[in-house]
């Protein structure tokens, strides 16, 4: 992170170290910070998901572990998963089977490198940041297909194939919806996009023009499908495919799939926050409440709001059929997003 590099420079004799060592130290530290942040976020999100789902179904959810409303339940679950036996079924493709969860997680993890959590808290500001996120984010498809294939199990294979078809289909509308933001900004850098939205909620792209508002909805729906959430969870449809591509996984490898799933949720929420909701910028115009809440906290609150909507949708909608899924992607979202790009382009040029 930028601030980590600054902190390191305060260390005595840090400047006397060779440049390569400096780079390695700062990269390693950034990785550790992002991993810790992601792990904490996932622990919280799993708890939140269970609570939201429980309350929507008029239940209470976890209530015991940790005392207050079962806040430590996911911690206990994670510890249990880490302590379990590492089972690799006999007829699997051993190497692919072992690698798959980490590749799925890598996609989500690596994309966080360019997400600006605050004014100065990001690892790096790539000038092609958005493109990088779209590219790295789709890396998880490879891991999912690997898991489905290597498990040597018909349900896993079905799940993997469905996930591949779904994620690749929905990447197109989501990428085109992202383009509606890039056209007015004129830059692919995440930091530039956030800076273009400074100065309160009326400057957010969400409320700036109606085409981008619709593009936000298109992106949101497409991103739900990309992270395999209900109503688009046909790759892991419990009632048909046991657990889809991670049927054969248990223990720590299963935990990594779980981590990747929630990290992906957080990722698409972060991207939507950065592109449409102004990232870490203030909600109220700066003249009213100047620097009211620190930027990173605002960022997380906005992302949490989007994640809450994801969970809310999950517990109100049933699963789509495969043909309905393809219909929604190719016949609804894709034409709409193309029209939106056209509209945003015309608005940018003539207004």
């Amino acid at each position: 992170m930028e601030s980590i590099a600054q902190l390191l420079r305060l260390m005595p004799k840090y400047d006397t170290l060779p440049g390569l060592t400096q780079a390695i130290i700062s990269v390693l530290l950034s990785c550790i910070v992002i991993f810790a942040l992601l792990a904490l976020a996932v622990l919280f999100l799993v708890w939140m998901e269970r609570k939201v789902s429980a309350h929507i179904q008029d239940r209470l959810g976890p209530m015991y572990v940790g005392g207050w409303h079962g806040w430590a339940q996911t911690l206990a679950d994670a510890l249990k998963l880490l302590l379990k036996e590492d089972i690799v079924p006999a007829a699997t493709d051993k190497l692919l089977f072992k690698m798959a969860p980490f590749i799925v997680f890598l996609g989500a993890f690596a994309a966080f490198v360019v997400v600006p959590f605050g004014a100065s808290s990001f690892v790096t500001d790539l000038n092609i940041g958005v493109l990088y996120i779209v590219a790295v984010g789709s890396l998880s498809v490879i891991g999912i297909i690997m898991a489905g294939w290597a498990s040597n199990n018909k349900y896993s294979l079905y799940g993997g194939m469905r996930a591949a078809a779904q994620i690749i289909s929905y990447e197109i509308p989501s990428a085109i919806a992202i383009m509606t933001v890039i056209i007015p900004v004129g830059s692919l850098s995440m930091v530039d996009i956030v800076n273009a939205q400074k100065g309160g909620f009326q400057h957010w792209f969400l409320f700036r023009n109606p085409f981008i508002f619709l593009a936000f909805i298109v992106y949101f729906v497409a991103s739900l499908a990309e992270v395999n959430r209900t109503p688009f969870d046909i790759p892991e449809a419990e009632s048909e495919l046991v657990a889809g591509y991670h049927t054969e996984y248990s223990g720590m490898r299963f935990a990594f799939f779980f981590l990747a799933e929630y990290a992906n949720m957080f990722l698409v929420a972060s991207v939507a926050t950065t592109l449409f909701l102004g990232g870490w910028t203030q909600v109220l115009p700066s003249s009213i409440a100047h620097q009211f809440i620190p930027g990173p906290i605002l960022f997380f609150l906005k992302a949490l709001l989007l994640i809450f909507i994801q969970m809310w949708l999950r517990w109100s909608l049933p699963r789509l059929r495969v043909d309905q899924l393809m219909y929604l992607s190719w016949k609804v979202l894709l034409p709409i997003s193309l029209v939106l790009v056209l509209g945003v382009g015309l608005l940018t040029v003539y207004w």
Binding site: H55, I56, D58, R59, L60, W312, L313, S316
Partner: protein, 162 residues
């Protein structure tokens, strides 16, 4: 083309409707009872574990005869003529000394047929439902307090059920 947009609108309305329903349920109080800390108040005549007020029991074996699963084992002997007369709480003279009164709750089918013929109303079904044990034999409840006085107390019969 028109049906396409109609379907699209219908889809959006349906999604919003279902979200509204979910939102309403998010704030309805949950129906969960935090069981070990909070418990149901059992209804007045609920049929759970059997209990015998042995001081009132006259050892008549009416309950054992009524039981369809034969889960009650009773052995009693005549009290001697020289022993002082004792009475149950409703005034019935207790002429028999109950030396074995075992109820095997693993056999009980909770029909409560045993409680109706009891002349002194000493055998009742309680509302107690938490009596899980580690050993199956702990489900055989021994209610009898008295030791057999006469010599001919049949030993092998008294250990038959236990």
């Amino acid at each position: 083309m028109l049906t396409y947009f109609k379907n699209l609108g219908l889809g959006v309305v349906t999604v919003l409707n279902s979200m509204r329903v979910a939102w309403r349920h998010l704030f309805t109080p949950s129906v969960t009872l935090q069981y070990p800390t909070v418990k149901w108040k059992m209804p007045e005549r609920s049929r759970m574990r059997l209990f015998n007020k042995i001081d009132d029991c006259i050892g008549c074996s009416a309950c054992a005869r009524a039981c369809p699963t034969k889960c009650i084992t009773i052995q009693s002997e005549k009290r001697g003529k020289d022993e002082p007369e004792i009475y149950a709480s409703d005034g019935t003279v207790i002429k028999l000394r109950t030396v074995v009164y075992d109820i095997d709750m693993t056999l009980c089918c909770y029909c409560a047929l045993c409680t109706f013929p009891c002349p002194t109303k000493c055998l009742v079904m309680t509302g107690e439902y938490e009596y899980a044990v580690y050993d199956k034999n702990d489900h055989i409840y021994h209610f009898a307090k008295d030791k057999p006085m006469t010599v001919k107390a049949p030993k092998e019969q008294s250990t038959e059920k236990a």
